[in-house]
Each structure stands twice: as structure tokens, then as C-alpha cells.
Symmetry: C2
Subunit: 233 residues, 2 copies
Amino acid sequence: MKAVTLLSGGMDSTTLVYYLRNEGYDVHALSIYYGQRHIKELDYARQMCDRIHVRRNEIDLSDVGRLLSKSGSALVDNRVEMPEGHYSEASMSQTVVPNRNMMLLSIATAIAVAGGADIVAAAVHAGDHAIYPDCRPMFIEAMNEAATVATEGFWMGSIVAPFVDKTKAEIAALGAELHVPWELTWSCYKGGQHHCGKCGTCVERQEAFHIAGVVDPTTYLDPEYWKQAVANK
Amino acid sequence: MKAVTLLSGGMDSTTLVYYLRNEGYDVHALSIYYGQRHIKELDYARQMCDRIHVRRNEIDLSDVGRLLSKSGSALVDNRVEMPEGHYSEASMSQTVVPNRNMMLLSIATAIAVAGGADIVAAAVHAGDHAIYPDCRPMFIEAMNEAATVATEGFWMGSIVAPFVDKTKAEIAALGAELHVPWELTWSCYKGGQHHCGKCGTCVERQEAFHIAGVVDPTTYLDPEYWKQAVANK
């Protein structure tokens, strides 16, 4: 069985690679540059795949990134300050990249069809649902329907999201079981030398490790902020 | 009103640009390189947009093209001979590019969301339905549904295909009314110096102009073949 999976280099998609291998899939990982400030995540994805000998390709969507760079999304528009705090806060909607997952899954599906893969997988999870419409179960269902119609007669596979109902803490627990090398995962949206500890994804990362009772090897510039952000949510 | 439209450089998508402008849309055209042999079509798209002052961006999906180059699709896999004959022949399924329109429309939608466009338009037409699943009305509906879900709260636009029920001859007639400069459109899948006259899209092009009674200014290497291909269909 073959799987094409989107690999950002964060803890969710890295755990998904481990999960799919553990389920017996031959995994082909795709890391996509769409102009994200935290391009650093792609280096982590590369190192992780090199370590466990997973086939990986990087896809350059710079031309799209440039056209999104005035979109007002903090992830791709340098004029917007990266919001800090808990993922559930209204300000986090600034981190939505226009139609990102539809683009990435459509590309992954094309490559899955060409390579005869059985599934296309994405690591969207329950914690994403509040702010990211393109991480919700309804979106995955709609994409799978569109892909099925688009490839009729040419592909029998499907688009899946094995973690769509899991919390990030459950993903951390699963990753720990599967021995995911957390030091080879990158979350921080700011993409600096170390994880900032304060942006939405840094807060979520620390909260997840804490709830799961998993040791977090990450260095954070501010390792205390997340507790206050969680308390205030 | 703003429209983002996919512009290959062929007669259908060029006519769509003229149609949208005539309907009052401010048009932003996107031409996408996904590894197609007939890259030449992009030059035609550029020249046409320059002439009528339409904003156009080219998007380089070379990385995706490379991953599709062993897909067995005659449009992107150089090992496959380009089939000749009428579009309706079984051999034409070799010209299907894996999940192409889902990728292109997803990218166009991202750019439409970022730029506040009202619609994303594609020039798929009734003649495409037989061989290309990603040109059928059901596909456009499924894509519009997926895009609506993906961009909930961020975009109120939609994906449309104004020509989805038109024949190519009807498009030729409409284009003639709108004064489309046919000499600035390119169809041939082989992408040589002149249109070959024998590949599926060359045959379809000649048949469409003939049925519509529109003068075709195109030079074909073999200008007679299409009659026999149409007779044999």
C-alpha cells in the first residue's frame, strides 16, 4: 500500500508519517513551500525523512506565495505581526493562509494518481477546527468527493485525515509511542533560531506535550508564557 | 466585479477572458506551467494579455511537472507518443493529466481569496466531458462545494464554468462575436512550430471553426486530416 502525505515538518505531520509507516504504508512525503515565513520547518522535514529513509519531495510554489504575500495572512504577509496567545483566540484567524489545504491536497492527489498511491493523507486535527475551515471533517469529505469525481476512471484512491478527530495532546501521546524524534520537528510560525514559545502554534505545542505527559525536548525563548495563555483562553 | 481565470492560451480560455471582460469583470488571468509539452501556449497567452492589457501571472509548477513526468500522460510524459485523431477516440484518454484541473482551480481560488475576487472561472466545455472527468459539470460543482467549505468565513465567491454546456463550435461563434484574435491562441498538444492538425485538440479546433462558420487563420502542417478524423469518429 502506498501513501502520499503532506509533511510540513511540524509534530502532527511528522507523527502522521510514523503512523502511516506503522500501518504498513510505503510513504511518499511532500513538503511544500508556499511563502511561509517559517520556511525553517522544511529543513526539519528533510532531516527527519533522511533519518528514517522516507522518500520526500519539496515543491516550490513561490509564484503562488508571491501572489498571497499581500493577503493579510500573518504566515505569508510580512506586514502582519504574528499573533501571540492561545490558538482559540480570535486573533489567530490572521494565521489562515487562503485556501492552503485545498491547494496542497490537490497537488498531493495529482502525484498520488501519477504514482498509483492508495491514499493521500493530511495531518489536520481537532484542535485546528476552530480557526481553520480547511482542517474540518467537512472539508476533508468535500475534497475527497471532488478528487473522486476529478479522477473518475483513473484513480481508486481517497483523501484521508487519520487525526481529524484527535486532539494535539492525543497526537503527542501517539507520537511518543511511535518514537517520533520531536527534536526534528518544527512548529513556531515565527521561524527564528529557537521556538518563540508565544505564537499560537508554540502555545499549542507546549500545551499538548504537557497534557500528554510527554517530555518536550524543545528550547523555547519564553518557556512560561504558554501557561498564562492557556489559563486565559 | 473581479474574476480570476485560468488561461492556457487556447481558444476556449482566451474566449473566456473576452467573455468575462464583456460581462464587466476586472480579469486577472493565471497561466500555469505544469510540465506540458506545449509550453508554447503560454507565450500565446502572454501576447494576448499584453495586447488587451489584462493582468496576467504565470505560475511555475515545474516541481509538480517533474513528479508527473512518468505518469503516462502524453501531455507531460515524453515517452508517450501524442495520439492523433478525434477527441472522442479512446486513445485520447492518454492526454489526461492527473488531477490537473483540481490543482489549477485550487491555486486560482487561493489567489482569488487573497485578492478579493468574486469568481474563479475555467473554460471547460461540453466537448471535454467524454475524456476529461475534471471538465464535467459534476466536477465544477464538487470543486465549488469544497472551496466554499475551505474558505468559510474568508470568501464569499464561487468557482464557475460559463462554457460547461457549450460545444467548442459555440465557443468559436461566441469568440468571433467578441473579436477574439485567433492568431494569438495556441491549441496543438505537440507544441511544434505550427499546429500539427492531427492531434486531438487540432482536430477539434478545425472542426469547431468549420461548424461555426468562422474563418480559421491557423496554419496547420496537415490541414486536411481533420475531415477524415471527424468522418471516422
